[in-house]
């Protein structure tokens, strides 16, 4: 009985306690870790992956998976650059174009899965490939920047507008001057919106029902197909938001950036399973999962851990989180029955 209580406690709060312990440890051993600037830096470093992870969380909720988010983000990065630098569109139209692209990609993913019965992993894997290739075609594989030479010999005259760059570079004042970057605000707002949608609305509840028992959900009259497509569209839109913010931060259409986005964001969503013993995809957990990775990496960097150990650390965190989720909850489940 006592063991069971400890186990339950560990499953529920273990990960959060680990997070607090980590923060305390780094605060004591790395000078400058516990400062507003450092906190803002951590948030900024996880904002874009976090936004993508929130989208993938929605697809996980309906028992799907979206592998195309990384490439949707980089496509959105290239598309925004192309729209502004070569087509000389305004910041607003560029952003709208990217969001539309994300929604359309999500719609196609959803239709492939729902109507053409392609398994989710394969459909989105195919879409990932397609987008990686597609984003290179208009510029013949080059990055996009003002003054670049175009295939017809002319020079690209457009530029990233200030309004667009504001999205990636402006910092709001909070306690300290120029502290909180816009992407962090967008990350927090997205997290709140996805949380409210999944946890508090009936649509979110039905999506969880679909993920848990699709047939039962259909038999109470839920439109399973529509909800699944919606999940992929949300995922596509959030991924394109991530790409826009990345473009705004970089200020150019860099063909090589965003390589790690997919793995990092999927890891954050999966780590989220372990938070509060949810054992299922959830928005709060995803946000905490993204933060956890950010804090760990920032702390280790400040303690002079070399950059090339980063992926190893992320992998280790993910494995530990998965053990938390699946092994311990399975144990709890078995304990509950006897």
């Amino acid at each position: 009985m006592k063991n069971e209580k400890i186990l339950n406690f560990a499953i529920r709060f273990g990960f959060l306690i680990l997070l607090v312990g980590l923060v305390l440890y780094f605060s004591l051993s790395a000078s400058g870790f516990a400062s507003p600037r450092s906190a803002a830096f951590i948030l900024q470093s996880v904002a874009i992956t976090g936004i993508l992870a929130l989208g993938v969380t929605c697809t996980l909720v309906v028992d799907g998976f979206d592998l195309s988010i990384g490439s949707v983000a980089t496509t959105s990065l290239m598309l925004s650059a192309y729209a502004m630098v070569i087509l000389e569109m305004s910041a607003f139209s560029a952003v709208m174009l990217c969001l539309l692209m994300g929604a359309v990609v999500g719609l196609i993913n959803g239709l492939l899965i729902v109507k053409f019965k392609v398994p989710d992993l394969l459909a989105t894997l195919g879409m990932m490939f397609l987008l990686i290739g597609l984003q290179r075609i208009p510029t013949q594989g080059n990055s996009i920047a003002t003054g670049m030479k175009l295939p017809d010999g002319s020079v690209a005259e457009g530029a990233f507008s200030q309004a667009f760059l504001w999205l990636g570079r402006h910092r709001f004042d909070l306690v300290v001057e120029r502290l909180v970057p816009v992407p962090v605000v967008i990350f927090l707002v997205t997290a709140l919106a996805i949380y409210v949608f999944l946890e508090l609305t009936r649509h979110g509840r039905l999506m969880y029902a679909i993920g848990s028992n699709e047939r039962a959900a259909a038999l109470v009259g839920a439109n399973v197909n529509r909800y699944k497509i919606a999940a992929y569209m949300i995922s596509g839109v959030t991924a394109s938001i991530g790409g826009i913010l990345l473009a705004a931060r970089l200020g150019r259409g860099d063909i090589a950036s965003g390589n790690n986005l997919l793995l990092d964001s999927v890891a954050a969503a999966l780590i989220g399973f372990a938070v509060l013993g949810a054992a299922r995809p959830n928005a709060f957990g995803t946000a905490v999962g993204a933060l956890f990775v950010g804090i760990l990496l920032q702390g280790l960097t400040m303690m002079n851990a070399p950059y090339y150990t980063q992926d190893f650390v992320k992998g280790a965190v993910l494995v530990i989180a998965l053990v938390f989720t699946f092994y311990l909850s399975a144990k709890r489940g078995a304990g509950g029955k006897t």
Binding site: L200, T201, H203, R205, A209, R215, A216, A217, V220, G221
Partner: protein, 502 residues
């Protein structure tokens, strides 16, 4: 001669006593048909025989020698071969016929590293010829019909020279002509002296193949029939049981007709089905597996198109294309087989219960947990769900209480037509009474249709009982002083009973 003797076999899963002392003999060269309703323990018995599970008590002998298989492979090498209900467990669809027929050779000790396809095909053709199978051994199994796949599974089984062959509902996915091929094959095996245990609900199959009928009910053998001519009605009685129930029904004839089923054709039948269900009335539709009960339920709930005929609700034509449309029209259905069709395992009681009507518990799509919990708590009290609170995980409840939640789900809002498909599946008698009482108490204002194979269940809840057999209505009874013999004869499809009904 006895090929297999079973004595005092017992098996329980936790508190659930599934087999309560089974004594059964299987004669060589004889087809023994095993009948039993869902949950009678047939599958468990088969699993023990074919080595998937061990028994808690009891002995089995095979041709006089003790038989206790360690696992499925051991059972096969002892000569007990099973063809399972879902045929794709028995064959590998992506490989060709030859490989499928010879699969066991590949796992034998001492089989060579390389597969010699030519030799394999020659050996396979020999096996096929012995069985009278006319198949291209190079064909991929996934391209074959279900019957052919089944033949292959059986043919492969024959390579072990089985003493006992077990077939679990083998005709459930076969057409009539395919089934005939299977029966011809079984006749051959019977002549070769194989003891065959044939599990089925289908009376037409049983009439065709049975030498002997054994009935199971609640984990016991409830009847053995081996005198020719076989007493089929007796067998159905023994399977379904009808110890006159203690529940007294005050029959209500009901108000105006709500649901009208007009000249609807069910699969496998040329006789259209027509009946109506009235306001305040509880109608039970009974019949064996394959009688068309579930089909009819699916049609009314928009899961299956109505091919011929018409459904009407309150006189208006009603053609639902989906569950959502059915629910919108006020037709609710509690599906059979709750674990696949109804329970959301991740949700607690309150969320499971309120799932169909989340719209009523939310404003601007935002759910009100307070309203959800309030409604759930009320329903828990009304229908008597045993739980700590409405926030218990659904998985912590017993089967009966889970079923109460699933039925309570559809009582939260008023319906015009309430369909309950096998509402008492895997439900203990206490919960069954609770559910039945509550359904009858709330029956006013809607028409209620209960689809149940077990006669006891139908007798306990209904004002009127409609009997289906092979897609046609063969009898309708007011539930007072019912002539049980006639009812059972109709369920089992006896010819003279059908003439009476018509």
């Amino acid at each position: 001669m006895k090929a297999c003797e079973i004595r005092g076999l017992e098996k329980s899963f936790g508190r659930n006593h599934v087999l309560r002392g089974i004594d059964l003999d299987l004669g060589a060269g004889e087809v023994t048909v095993l009948m039993g309703a869902n949950g009678a323990g047939k599958s468990t018995l088969v699993k023990i025989l074919c080595g998937f599970q061990g028994a808690n008590a009891g002995t089995m002998t095979l041709e006089g020698r003790p038989y206790s298989p360690a696992d499925a492979a051991d059972a096969i090498s002892c000569g007990v071969v099973t063809v399972h209900q879902s045929i794709d467990d028995g064959v590998i669809p992506d490989l060709d016929v030859a490989t499928n027929l010879m699969l066991n050779r590949l796992t034998e000790q001492g089989a060579g590293l390389m597969v010699r396809d030519r030799a394999l095909r020659i050996a396979a053709r020999k096996v096929a010829d012995n069985m009278g199978l006319d198949l291209d051994v190079r064909a991929r199994v996934s391209d074959l019909s279900v019957a052919d796949r089944q033949m292959i599974a059986i043919a492969r089984a024959m390579a072990y020279e089985p003493k006992v062959l077990i077939l679990d509902e083998p005709t459930s996915s076969l057409s009539a002509s395919e089934a005939d091929r299977l029966f011809a094959l079984l006749d051959r095996l019977r002549d070769q002296g194989v003891a065959i245990l044939y599990i089925s609900h289908r009376m037409s199959d049983i009439r065709r193949i049975a030498d002997r009928i054994v009935c199971m009910r609640d984990g016991r053998i409830s009847g053995v029939f081996d005198q020719a001519p076989l007493d089929y009605d007796g067998a159905v009685t023994a399977m379904l049981g009808h110890k006159m129930t203690e529940v007294d029904i005050e029959v209500v004839s009901g108000g105006p007709a709500i649901l009208e089923v007009d000249q609807v054709l069910l699969d496998g039948s040329d006789t259209p089905v027509s009946f109506s269900a009235h306001d305040g009335e509880v109608v039970a539709i009974t019949g064996l597996l394959g009688s068309g009960k579930s089909q009819l339920a699916d049609m009314i709930f928009g899961q299956k198109p109505v091919r011929a005929g018409q459904l009407r609700i309150d006189g208006q034509p009603y053609r639902p294309a989906s569950a959502a449309q059915a629910v919108a029209a006020g037709v609710f259905m509690s599906s059979k087989d709750r674990s696949t069709n109804a329970v959301i395992p991740d949700f607690d009681i309150a969320n499971n219960m309120t799932l169909p009507f989340l719209g009523s518990f939310s404003r601007l799509s935002l759910l009100s947990k307070r309203k959800q919990r309030g409604a759930a708590t009320d329903m828990i009290k009304q229908i008597g769900v045993k739980c700590q609170s409405d926030q218990d995980g659904i998985g912590t409840l017993s089967g009966g209480n889970q079923q109460k939640v699933m039925i309570g789900r559809w009582l939260l809002e008023d319906s015009r037509v309430l369909l309950l498909d096998e509402p008492f599946q895997g439900v203990d008698i206490g919960a069954r009474r609770d559910i039945g009482r509550h359904i009858r108490a709330t029956a006013k204002g809607r028409a209620t249709l209960v689809f149940a194979a077990e006669l006891d269940e139908a007798l306990e809840i209904a004002d009127r009982i409609i009997v289906l057999h092979e897609g046609a209505i063969v009898g309708t009874h007011e539930n007072s002083n019912i002539d049980l013999d006639a009812l059972i004869a109709q369920v089992s499809g006896a010819k003279d009973a059908r003439i009476q009904a018509n």
